[in-house]
């Protein structure tokens, strides 16, 4: 089986065939749109999480009428697809009040198209004890709402089991990811991102056997052909591996990522001891590392520099969705911080829908050349 093609096919539709198959077996898909939503809580009992994407979106004409054209194109695309019935298979969705754009998307959806179950989680903007306590309470209320609505078991035991399974699954993904950042990578960033995004958009149980096989086969693969530069890709939501494909087509191998929809920080293990909901609250609040969190700029910036050094990146590419306020402002500060650390950095704005490919190629070429590669 050509696994690249197989994963690509999974990403062709916002709700793929594995989701449909699991539903036929009595499983319940719930959409979510942000890394602050603890997808583990949607991986309990008959529930399974599907990260919401709008793959293949052609335009957002109807959504623009409601959200306007100055809102991030990811949220506009989600609204367009929702109004077009492309998420009708989902039994509900969960949002996080993480940014103005997602909050307003939720407001619009509540007015325009409300599914059987909808919820927005109140995520604090800080990570201290009071904030963790707040988010713990928030997740308890969320657990109750899920139980009341779907009759599923979100007991401490069920959640602890879900955390263990989640960690085991992510350990496999992390292991696979190591093969893209070694001295002689055997896997491209595009291939890896395809797997990670597919994993968030499909029932995990269905993917597990094939991921194990990939993990076991990777050591036997030949190293990739020569490339010009090793890059760390940084940013928020990016669910289109094609974007990385364009970067890599110019010789910039993406050997690491810090993306909301990527390997770091999302695949880090969740503590398996103590109260599971408290562990989840602490984990998602402290590890998600989005610029919407106040007071933690330095930690985020240092994290990027450390990651770049760990994966021996020649340069950092920061990509962000146009109109994203938090990434937009913070990227300006990241650029100077990363440069001060002696690492070349390129900042790119993009739309959710892949476009302006020629421009992207030119920017990447120029960046690689500027590094003398």
């Amino acid at each position: 089986m050509d696994t690249d093609k197989w994963f690509s096919k999974l990403l062709d539709e916002p709700v793929n065939e594995l989701v449909q198959k699991s539903m036929d077996e009595g499983q319940i898909p719930i959409g979510y749109s942000c890394s602050y939503v603890p997808d583990v809580m949607l991986s309990v009992d008959r529930l399974f999480p599907v990260r919401m994407r709008a793959t293949g979106i052609a335009g957002t004409e109807i959504a623009d009428n409601y959200l306007s054209s100055v809102i991030c194109s990811y949220t506009r695309s989600l609204l367009e697809f929702a109004l077009d019935g492309r998420y009708d298979l989902l039994r509900g969705w969960v949002f996080a009040a993480s940014c103005d754009h997602l909050r307003r998307l939720y407001d619009n959806l509540e007015y325009l198209k409300r599914p059987g179950f909808s919820r927005i989680l109140d995520v604090p903007h800080k990570t201290g004890n009071a904030a963790i306590s707040w988010y713990t309470d928030e997740l308890k209320l969320f657990a109750k709402a899920l139980t009341d609505n779907f009759g599923v078991d979100l007991s401490a035991e069920a959640l602890a089991k879900a955390i263990r399974e989640h960690n085991a699954f992510n350990a496999i993904l992390r292991k696979i990811g190591e093969y893209r950042c070694g001295d002689k990578p055997v896997m491209t960033g595009t291939q890896y991102h395809r797997i990670v995004v597919a994993a968030s958009a499909s029932p995990k149980k269905a993917l597990l056997p094939i991921l194990k096989k990939i993990r076991d086969d990777l050591p036997k693969r030949d190293p990739l052909p020569a490339y010009r530069a090793r890059l760390l890709l940084v940013g928020g939501h990016l669910d289109d591996p094609g974007y990385i494909g364009i970067i890599e087509s110019q010789g910039g191998l993406v050997v690491g990522d810090r993306l909301c929809t990527g390997s770091y920080p999302g695949l880090q293990p969740i503590p398996e001891t103590g109260d599971p909901i408290e562990a989840l609250a602490k984990h998602y609040l402290t590890k998600t590392s989005c610029p919407r969190m106040m007071e933690a700029f330095r930690e985020r910036a240092e994290d990027i520099v450390t990651l770049a050094r760990d994966c021996r990146a020649d340069g950092v590419v920061i990509q962000l969705l146009k109109f994203c306020d938090t990434w937009g402002v913070e990227a300006a500060a990241f650029v100077s911080f990363i440069r001060e650390a002696g690492i070349p950095v390129l900042r790119l704005e993009r739309d959710y829908r892949l476009g302006s490919e020629g421009q992207l190629r030119t920017r990447i070429q120029a960046f690689i050349e500027s590094m003398g590669k």
Binding site: S68, C99, D100, M294, G328, V329
Partner: protein
Amino acid sequence: MTTTKPGLSDYLELNKYRAINLMNISRMAAKHGPLNMHRDLKRYPWIWDLLQVNSLLKRLVEGRSGNYRTSVAMVLGGVVEGVIELLEGIFYRSDRLILHEDLLPPEIFRAMGLQPWVPELLGILLPMLVPDTMQKYLDAAESEGVPPDICSLPRATIGMALKNAFPEALAIVSSNMPCDGGMSSYTIIARQMKKPAYWVDIPFDFKNERALDYFAGELKDMIAWLEKHTPGKMDWQRLKDICEKRNAMAELELDIWDMIRHRPAPMAAEAIWMSHLWFFNINPGYDTSIKLFTDLKALTQKNLEANVSAVPHEKYRALLWNPPTLHYIDLMNWAERTYGVSVILDSMSFNRQPFIDTSTPDSMLKSLGNIIMQGPMSRHTRGPAEANYFPDIFHMVKHFDLDMVWVAGHIGCKNTQAMSGVLREKCRDSGVPLLVIDYDLMDSRITPKEGIQEQVGNFMENIMKAKRLD
């Protein structure tokens, strides 16, 4: 155009306030001394813009007469006194100076004996005085990589920080209000100014005891942090005094709001919105603020009793949603004279949580927390819109007997932009005419004043079927 020809007393009134403003400014300059003044004018070149206040006064009172004219001039005069006090804070009390984000409660900082400075304040004041003056700061921020689509208020504030336009402060306090752009701007401001910074977190869903406790806890932590990083110490009795005086202001304001429900309204525009914007956000709990609202109430009462309309020939009553059009602040005055539109109230002033329970320190913090969380912009940019955004609009339309809603559709306000589609449908269903003015809050390059006039004119003539009065 209906220009109520101001009489001799109106001219005298204008000149009286001109003279008072000049006198206050001169007194400040004389007290500071020519050398110090010269140095600080170089250090803070935006002070030159502030000196244009009498030009603004002339624009705002044009065509207005009687108690309405006096009220507008009086409010602006009060703002001048407030600005002078802030400047003197920079000049003489810099050892206690802190910067704080504009929606945080100055009552607390004053009670701690600190000298607050609101970085956003200049971005609000200066474009009213000199419409294109913020462009250099906006450009400075963009040159540093801040995207041009971020709200121009935080963007200009970042630009000012980058251009070293703010006074040196001991510490910076900010929050996640009112929007992501505003919240994020302080990352750059704190980094640029190299000062310790603290952020206060306001929950999304704030209408419950859990949120109130959480936020009161945040305020307590902020006070402890300030006590550690500045010489400020919380004086609870002082806070109580300030809060009680603020309550007195709120009572007076509610009385005025009751009176402007009357048709025609005895008071409107700057007398209502500017008085709230400045005195509740910058000078709450001041004796001078109480006096101003007392005088405003008396003038409003006089008009009401004499059945005098503030706006001559009031034909339409409007709600202004969003901050006023800063770089074309005389829009309301123009609309009054051109179409007989009276802007009765605005989203920045209207609130439902005016009073502070001063019985204990905790009750004060909770009340202040409630005022902030449920205050303008905070309330409107969080919590479900169905609960916090639309109900205010339709309540105000009904309660104040309004004929239309004007949304000052500042292009950088993504929270408002993203609700315009639903608002349009809701207004259509309710039969409330809606105008969304496309423009930028302080960058006249996006939509100049003529463009704003054209949008208002098209709406008034095509939707409201209004005839120009000129």
